[in-house]
């Protein structure tokens, strides 16, 4: 296996952008959206956004504890499966501007990130329950392209974009081996989402933006090409992470990012912990667990991202803030 390559040869296989991104090592995910206000993890694009009435989003409080914990970048949920957009988009009515709050949260966050030296990444769901035309592949792919165009052109440097929810348009291949699944994806989902074109467009707008496509818990850490990095949630059971994957005729190194929830409450879904804020959820791991996760990440040569829910008042949970601030004290 090529996994046994030494770090020296490995480095030469990475692009400068990949290398730089790997050096960040530690990041934070901010999960916020329509679900935050309805005590739910998922919804169908039908929840009324008029409940989004907070006065401020306290982005400094999101960022400073993370910086204190040694985190170098953040990943913000700009849109989840429900289709609600946290930025001022021209390509969906279901967005933050059409709420009582009425301001572009992404823009507020982007400014604060730039001011504090935090790199900004995005989480964007390909799946979108809000749109009425999700079965029209062409129109749907166009909408995605136009939304991503806004995201990559209006908010400064975007260090990564983490696509999620591809499985809506991927029926075949689920029972196959990982490599076969990549082929199944290339012969279906990649085409239906116009992923090759989307990827090239992103590279034209921001060549250094790391593109990732979440491959689900069935296929942890599988690169759904074209991508620059792989992503995994709950990789604790992965013993050997396959780093080298075939793309464009070469076996190339694709770095991985591991995302883990700080909330430990069982969401009853695929992974432990809630992504979104829930009123009664003050669950939090102790520092030792975080150190273990960092070791795990180091063992896998991975970046580690900890997910923090943002409250309906626009704040980081106090427990998360305290944990991050005291992580190294």
């Amino acid at each position: 296996m090529k996994n046994t390559k030494t770090m020296d040869t490995l480095q030469t296989d990475l692009t400068p952008a990949q290398k730089r991104w790997m050096e960040y090592r530690f990041g934070i995910r901010y999960t916020f959206g329509i679900n935050t206000f309805y005590n739910t993890e998922t919804s169908e694009g039908t929840l009324d956004p008029s409940v989004i009435t907070m006065k401020e989003v306290n982005v400094d409080q999101w960022i400073l504890p993370a910086l204190n914990a040694g985190m170098r970048y953040c990943v913000f949920t700009v849109k989840n499966h429900d289709g609600f957009c946290n930025w001022d988009t021209q390509h969906s009515f279901y967005n933050i501007m059409n709420t009582p709050f009425g301001r572009d949260i992404l823009s507020v966050l982007a400014e604060a990130c730039a001011a504090n030296g935090m790199k900004l990444g995005l989480y964007y769901s390909l799946m979108d329950h809000y749109t009425s035309f999700k079965n029209d592949d062409d129109r749907f792919a166009d909408m995605i392209l136009h939304q991503v165009e806004e995201l990559l052109n209006n908010y400064g440097e975007i260090t990564q974009i983490w696509f999620d929810g591809f499985w809506d348009k991927q029926t075949g291949g689920w029972t196959r081996s990982p490599v076969d699944f990549v082929h199944a994806w290339r012969s279906e989902g990649a085409f239906r989402y116009k992923m090759d074109y989307l990827y090239r467009s992103i590279k034209a707008w921001q060549p250094d933006c790391m593109v990732m496509n979440h491959s689900t818990a069935d296929f942890v850490g599988i690169p759904l090409h074209p991508v620059d990095a792989r992503c995994g949630i709950d990789v604790s059971y992965v013993v050997v992470d396959k780093k080298y994957w075939n793309w464009m005729g070469r076996e190339s190194y694709f770095p991985i990012e591991i995302t883990i929830n700080l909330s430990g409450k069982d969401s009853g879904k695929f992974n432990p912990g809630y992504w979104y804020w829930h009123e009664d959820d003050e669950s939090i791991p102790d520092k030792e667990r975080i150190y273990t996760w960092l070791e795990l990440a180091e063992r896998h040569e991975a970046n580690l991202v900890l997910n923090c829910p943002i409250s309906p008042q626009g704040d980081l949970r106090l427990v998360d803030q305290q944990l991050l601030e005291s992580l190294w004290h």
């Binding site: 291949g173 199944a184 012969s187 005729g249």
Partner: protein, 337 residues
Amino acid sequence: MNYETEQDNTQVKPDEVQKAFLDLKFGMFIHYGINTFHNTEVSDGDLPLYNFDAEAVDTNQWCMTAKNAGMKYIVMTAKSMDGFCNWPSKYTNYSVGYTSFKKDILAELINSAEKYGLKVGFSYSLWDNRIFNDTLEDEVYNTFILNQVKELLTSYGPLLELWFDGFWRRQDFGWKAPNGYAVPADHFIHAWRMEGAFRWKWDYLYAFCKSLQPDCLVFNNPTRLFRGVPLLPVDGRAAEKGEDLSENKNIWKWLGKDVFLPLQIETTLSQKGRDAYGDGNWYWHSSDNSVAKKWKIRSWRKNAEKIGANLALNVGPMSNGKLRPEDEKVLLRFQSE
């Protein structure tokens, strides 16, 4: 999420457009261009245009002959690997528009074909020696292709097919297994999806073609190594020199489903080749008078019929714009039986 289901292959049928295509059964393939005037099959995009001294291109004769031979359609080289365009493309100065002939050969063919009730398709080479070089960025080159394809699909009315050629210029891996043999068809499709399809922006190009002409069948010539293998997404499969194929796998996996992809066999009436292609020329060469015997053509047709494929016979018209007498003769005699 294990909802992959077994399908009954026999249920997958050609759609109406594919069925109409298969009903045509027999067609003519035409190679004509700058190579015709330089006694060569391939060139580097630098052959001088002043040699292109045809005074007339007798598309009426081509069509009449095809019609009389029982052919129902014609596929003509719009552009070959040399980059020479048989129409006055806005995006290159290497076209018939820059020769003394000047006229748009594709337009003339379309007019003649209409007179004789023939459908028309074009072949177009992705690989273009005229402008391609290794430092040219994929993106710039792909835009050039899109522009030319748009000209072809918006200037000549409804086309039967668009037959792409030359993909291998951007497909390095996947051709051979470690043991040196060609890989199985499915593996090659995977290799194509993992490299060529991305580099040629093929998914986008295919969708672009379908958006301009939904009923124009898109082919992508997989080379002789992989005759009949679909470089997906396509609407049909091409088999260069596939006259001896005894099998025809019509059902392939695409978008998670089994789909039907009709086969078109292309082969040459010329039986005398040069260099690498020892079994027949595609372009005209003054020294090549060889032509397939009637019985041979009959057996090709029979075989194509047996495996449910279309057969397109290639002719290389002469520099004076007319078919070789040999080709004309055998096609007309073939019909009279």
